[in-house]
Symmetry: C2
Subunit: 312 residues, 2 copies
């Protein structure tokens, strides 16, 4: 039996009053996602099943910016993005600009396993969810008071000037993501990532979280990685595949590749970057440059951690 392990994140970025206030609930949410995925792995579940169940748990938790509790865009709507990749066969699935689907990560997995497509957006993704009878929810389900207050504050500030807000987003780093990586008892790895986007974003924004290579990447030869932070920088660095490439071509091990990526490759980047990763041997690595990243891991040799701030 291979060493199995699960790691999850709930977004990297600056500190806030809301995060300090909800620290315990946020940690409980991370712990629940870890426990559900760990139990599934212990019972012989696959890495793909484990990352899906962990991300579903965080999508259902209104405190995280994914699924319920997603950020509200400049049109007052919530558009969701998600991606999943199976390191065993390099198959992947992703969805973008999706509304009303309770668990975008489950829809992404359905794209991977039940269609010949890989990446569907907007009404095409919605029609697949309907064909497959995936659970749907009305708009009201997704909207939380916290996200509505953030939306209203932005709207009042700019009087609807979406360009000004978009600039501010990059400056204030108003983003959020959830993700999971797992290695199962057979040494297979998988990655999954889901997001509600950025506050007051232009409608139709496609999140980096939904891009294979940027938001998620998994390959049994090296590792599984999920990223979070400033989309612009995650994309220009092709973050998750970058970690794979450091292992495959830079001949680094998992921990060195993750550390080198955040501390050296991205050292001049003025934005938040965070990654969680596992390798097929059961090693876990987490690196980020921001003051906080909601995160945790649980491995079959009894190692476990849940925390929010850098110094924890």
């Amino acid at each position: 039996m291979n060493n199995f392990a699960i790691a999850v994140h709930g977004g990297a970025g600056p500190d806030s009053d809301s995060i300090r206030k909800h620290k315990k609930e946020l940690e409980k949410g991370i712990q629940r996602a870890l426990d559900k995925a760990y139990d599934l792995l212990e019972q012989g579940g696959t890495a793909v099943e484990a990352v899906e169940i962990a991300v579903r748990e965080l999508e259902d938790d209104p405190l995280f910016n994914a699924g319920r509790g997603g950020a509200i865009n400049s049109k007052g709507e919530i558009e969701l993005c998600a991606s999943i990749m199976d390191g065993d066969n390099l198959q992947s699935g992703a969805v973008a600009i999706v509304k009303n689907v309770k668990n975008p990560i489950t829809l992404a997995r359905a794209v991977m396993e039940k269609t010949s497509h890989i990446y569907l957006g907007s009404y095409g993704a919605l029609s697949l969810a309907q064909e497959l009878n995936l659970p749907m929810e009305p708009d009201a389900y997704f909207i939380t008071e916290k996200q509505f207050d953030a939306y209203k504050e932005k709207r009042d500030q700019v009087g609807g000037n979406a360009q000004a807000i978009a600039k501010e987003q990059v400056g204030e780093r108003m983003h959020g993501t959830v993700g999971a990586v797992a290695v199962d008892k057979k040494g297979r790895v998988a990655a999954a990532t889901s997001t509600g986007g950025t506050e007051y974003a232009k409608e139709g924004r496609i999140g980096d979280s939904s891009m294979i290579g940027v938001g998620s990447y998994a390959n049994n030869k090296t590792c599984a990685v999920s990223s979070t932070g400033d989309g612009e920088y995650l994309m220009q660095q092709v973050t998750c595949f970058h970690v794979h490439a450091l292992m495959e071509y830079g001949k680094m091990n998992l921990k060195r590749a993750c550390k080198h990526f955040i501390r050296d490759v991205c050292k001049d980047i003025k934005g938040d970057m965070g990654i969680i990763a596992v390798d097929p041997k059961g090693n876990v690595a987490i690196e980020f440059n921001s003051v906080r990243m909601h995160r945790g891991w649980k491995t079959c040799d009894g190692d476990s951690f849940v925390g929010i701030y850098q110094e924890e």
Copy 2:
């Protein structure tokens, strides 16, 4: 002054009666795109301007599956995708599931240069095009008889069974893309890619061509790359960034990286893969595993080529 060069492609894949019949016009289209971009580079234009003008030329040409002449999806509609990346500053822009915008590559460049976003889809991309007064065309402009015949044949075959068609697409490799890479007199590189998608695809399909890292990637440290072929495989290999990684971490030069990628990394892949690439010194590399790839290049030292088949 740095050596400058331009390379373009018009898609890789199997041979067909239509390609044999239109070989001369296809070659003329590639030549026009090369000439326009070359003239611009000679006059001191930037690599970004050169790849945009080359791709625009191919988008306007109804014989190529991008812009006018895009593939018709299973709902009888044409949805376009494009991406562009500036290797000088790693800025990028991309659009997906776009209708009625005459030149999706110009919209992708506008996302890069005029917004704080990177990747917009569907009605969000359309509203940006409207805000910027980019040229729009009615549906009729984009539809060619050749693509309509292909659509009708598929529809008659499957009686509207989109899943059966999607499977067939992967088998028959019905896809098409255009792309360009350039290095300018200042040694800056850029890449651009645009597609009309795959015939009879599910509505809302997001093309790999629009994904930074997969469809396009550019970095002055190494190279600029544009890809074409089977989206599934291009995505799982994160094709364009993969070539960058082979140079950056595998310590290969441009030609070796491209050759190694297609012939070794992808040797067991049962799908079409094609790449065009330039490095900041003005070298050009083109590799593909399919029987044909519409392609050409033109360099400031007088080297020039236009061809379709592998043996040319």
